[in-house]
């Protein structure tokens, strides 16, 4: 389950597994969170150590996680490496092309940044 509405069990499992890279989105109904999430899931499936999560309820996150991963709703973050640190983060709008579609290249690039963490 990659859309987190009331449970973060799958997120915790992914965070606890060594070698994984996570693409996280804090949803904002006015932004393209779901579109980006769908694209990220499709891209992640080719490399099974990757996961994509769409968080719809900010209260599922601790204050520290909210502060480290997202500035506010409508933001994304990629975490990875041994200590699951943030490789890249930013507003979802930075992942949207001129035609309104999410950019596979940007999502791939962000995942790679997470994969390259030690």
């Amino acid at each position: 389950m990659t859309i987190l509405t009331n449970s973060r069990a799958s997120l915790d499992k992914a965070l606890d597994t060594e070698g994984t890279t996570l693409f996280l989105i804090l949803d904002d109904p006015e932004n393209a969170g779901e579109l980006v999430h769908d694209k990220a899931v499709a891209i992640a499936s080719a490399r099974p150590w990757r996961n994509a999560f769409l968080i719809t309820d900010p209260s599922l996150l601790t204050a520290k996680e909210r502060k480290l991963w997202f500035d506010e709703a409508g933001y994304y973050a990629v975490v990875g490496g041994k200590d699951k640190v943030v490789a890249v983060r930013g507003p979802l709008d930075a992942l949207i092309m001129s035609n309104g579609a999410p950019s596979a290249m940007e999502i791939r690039w962000s995942f790679n940044q997470g994969d390259l963490l030690p």
């Binding site: 080719a46 092309m97 001129s98 596979a104 790679n112 390259l116």
Partner: protein
């Protein structure tokens, strides 16, 4: 030594290596195009390069980002070149770098960055072609992950984890290099970006498509994927080719702009002899003038094979040393007074000083006040007369003239200081008459103090003299602007004209005497710049400006001279308007490294044993052949050469022990300190009949080369 008769002047303390100003980034950015765009390097006669504009050891390293010379690893401007010391047998390599070119219209991209971008284009092409390895790397990473998952918690876990990390990184790196290229060439909001992303998805069809909330893996068409991959590479190559073309066009446009703007580079060089700045002459700058190349004349580092110039100077110095030695000997014997000797040797100098003081004494404050009033009255009278003749002569002409006059009067305190100092020296000259040994130390102290004051006052005088002349020239221009009939009818016979010409003559005399005084006190010094023009110069269009090599060996020179290089960037295809401030750079020519010189000196020589003589010592002339080390600017103090200015060698000296002996010549060794200002020697007199005949002797002396030269001038 029986009498304290040797005067030790100007013993210098240790000299540290001269440090020229080096630039930090902000200072570099404020330099003019000429300062940033011309890089000086010395190439010695062995072919080794010594940086002048660059810092030592920084060859090929840019002084600041963006200043990269395409295809070259030339040093860049990192410090001031003016004042550098170079060897008399060296060449000066003068390179033009891109910073000389005018900025682009947008001024955004430093010209040197085009080279960096061109290089990046080639690297981009390589990164895209690397995608061919991605599929295999990704599959390896998936296999390693699956193995790791199945072996979690087992003993093989750590090794499998390491293997997975390696293959995961490899796939991510390869893909990232290609994605960086694609993201650079087609930024996120580029209208062609969706098209490129579509090609990318066809090339790597493992991407799953979402259907009804489930994930589904579509069938992979390998042939279609390969075609899409080729299509992607073609698109990238087209973009890179267009980018390379744009960069080349950009560079060409920049150069064309420089030519269209008609900017020209003019480089002139002049050799200024140390003993007579008036004999400055142009030096050939290949590619920038039509002067003859000239023949190579190497200056012998052993100091034995002299050029005509060196021979002439040596003969002058030997003559001057001989004259001074004889004069001092006469003083020692009581046959002459010291002041008489100085006056005889100094030629016109003291007479000139007297006349200068007389001239300047007319300019004391009360004289100035009276002169000012007189001048103002003359101005008023003249203007009234001119107004009567020509109604258009207006207030602003009067204001301009009075403004020039006020600036002139403002310099009176400096002139007054010089008058006071000269008065002090005149008093000291009186005290030198009849001086006794007890009073000598204080008198010497007071003299040195007065000389030091004179140096300070005189140092301001060249500027003052030049200012005086330029103010008077400004007046002359204002007069020239008057209609001819007015000049004839009113100016020519006016009291103002007479006063102005009187001031002009005074300024010229001040200027001439100042030059002598400065040479006397400072012991050297011809100017280090010249206003001479090279009439054979060629103005090179900026786009065609090339590097050049100034060969010092092809011009008459000697150690101590200066080379003045003047670079100008001129606007338009003709004319003398400067687009940038003129760049003047002066180099000091010296013999560097180990070398030897013939050095004449005045010495007090005394025999070790001279039987039957009450007075076995006396002043004489010695000629030494001494070795020393000339340190380069970037060397600190090798062999303590800079601190002690030491030298050592052999000498020949005229001897005359006892009044009945004929002149003899002694041979021995010399040690010098502080650039020959102190010399110690000892030697053997082969003409002595016995040890009691002064066979062994010693001496103490000084070359005083610059001082002797100044004192013995007769012009």
């Amino acid at each position: 030594m029986k009498n304290v008769s040797v005067v030790l002047l100007l013993v210098l303390t240790a000299c540290s290596a001269p440090k020229r100003k080096s630039y930090d980034q902000s200072e570099f950015d404020r330099l003019s195009r000429l300062q940033r765009g011309l890089v000086f390097t010395e190439r010695d006669e062995h072919g080794s390069e010594h940086p002048i504009s660059a810092m030592p050891g920084a060859n090929g390293v840019p002084a600041s980002p963006g200043v990269v010379v395409p295809g070259k690893s030339a040093p860049q401007v990192a410090r001031l070149a003016d004042g550098a010391t170079i060897d008399v047998n060296s060449q000066i390599d003068l390179r033009t770098v891109d910073a000389l070119q005018p900025p682009t219209a947008s001024g955004v991209v430093p010209a040197g960055e085009t080279h960096t971008l061109t290089k990046s284009v080639a690297e981009m092409a390589v990164a895209i072609h690397g995608l061919a390895d991605l599929r295999a790397q990704e599959q390896q990473a998936v296999r390693d992950w699956n193995e790791l998952e199945s072996a979690r918690g087992s003993q093989a876990d750590a090794a499998l984890r390491a293997a997975f990390d390696r293959s995961k990184h490899a796939a991510a790196s390869t893909e990232q290099r290609a994605l960086n290229v694609l993201r650079t060439l087609w930024p996120i909001k580029d209208p062609d970006r969706p098209k490129i992303e579509g090609i990318l998805e066809r090339a790597f069809p493992e991407v799953m498509k979402l259907q009804d909330g489930t994930l589904d893996r579509g069938a992979i068409d390998a042939a279609e994927a390969a075609r899409a991959e080729q299509e992607l590479i073609v698109e990238v190559q087209k973009k890179l080719d267009a980018l390379s073309g744009s960069l080349r066009e950009f560079e060409a446009r920049t150069r064309e702009r420089a030519e269209d703007a008609g900017q020209r580079l003019r480089i002139e060089a002049f050799l200024i002899p140390s003993d007579d700045g008036a004999k400055a002459h142009p030096v050939h700058v290949p590619g920038y003038d039509r002067l003859d190349e000239g023949e190579i004349q190497r200056i012998d580092p052993l100091g034995l094979r002299l050029t005509a110039e060196e021979r002439t100077r040596l003969e002058e110095l030997i003559k001057a040393s001989d004259e001074l030695a004889k004069a001092l000997e006469r003083v020692r014997r009581g046959e002459a007074k010291l002041t008489e000797v100085f006056e005889q040797l100094s030629g016109r100098l003291f007479a000139d000083l007297d006349r200068l003081a007389d001239d300047l004494s007319k300019l004391d404050p009360s004289t100035f006040a009276a002169q000012k009033q007189e001048l103002e009255r003359a101005v008023d009278d003249f203007v009234e007369a001119a107004r009567a003749h020509l109604s258009s002569v207006g207030e602003d002409l009067r204001t301009k003239w009075k403004s020039e006059l006020d600036q002139l009067i403002d310099r009176s305190p400096e002139i007054q200081q010089l008058v006071t100092t000269i008065e002090t020296i005149r008093e000291l000259r009186n005290r030198w008459d009849g001086v006794d040994v007890a009073a000598l130390p204080k008198l010497l102290n007071d003299t040195l103090a007065a000389v030091s004051q004179l140096v300070t006052a005189v140092q301001k005088l060249p500027t003052l003299a030049n200012d005086l002349q330029s103010h008077l020239d400004a007046w002359r221009e204002l007069v020239a602007a008057l209609p001819a009939s007015t000049r004839t009818a009113v100016w020519d016979d006016s009291a103002l004209r007479k006063l102005v010409e009187e001031w002009r003559d005074r300024a010229r005399r001040i200027h001439d005497v100042v030059a002598n005084a400065v040479a006397l006190i400072k012991g050297v010094r011809a100017p280090v710049r010249t206003t001479l023009r090279n009439t054979e110069t060629i103005d090179v269009p900026l786009g065609e400006a090339k590097d050049t090599l100034i060969d010092l060996r092809r011009t008459t020179r000697k150690a101590g001279d200066h080379l003045h290089v003047r670079a100008r960037l001129l606007d338009g295809k003709e004319g003398e308007e400067d687009a940038e401030p003129v760049l003047d750079t002066t180099f000091d020519l010296e013999k560097l490294g180990w070398h030897a010189d013939l050095v004449p000196s005045v010495v007090f020589v005394e025999g070790d044993r001279v039987a039957g003589a009450n007075d076995s010592g006396g002043f004489s002339t010695a000629l030494s052949w001494v070795w020393r080390y000339g340190a380069r600017d970037d060397e600190d103090d090798p062999h303590l050469a800079r601190s002690l200015g030491w030298s050592a060698g052999l000498h020949a000296v005229f001897l005359n022990f006892g009044p009945d002996n004929d002149a003899e010549i002694g041979l021995g060794v010399t040690v010098g300190l502080w650039d020959q200002r102190v010399q110690l020697g000892a030697g053997y007199n082969p003409m002595a009949d016995s040890d009691d005949d002064g066979r062994i002797y010693y001496f103490l002396g000084s070359s005083l080369v610059p001082l002797l030269q100044a004192l013995s001038r007769d012009d």
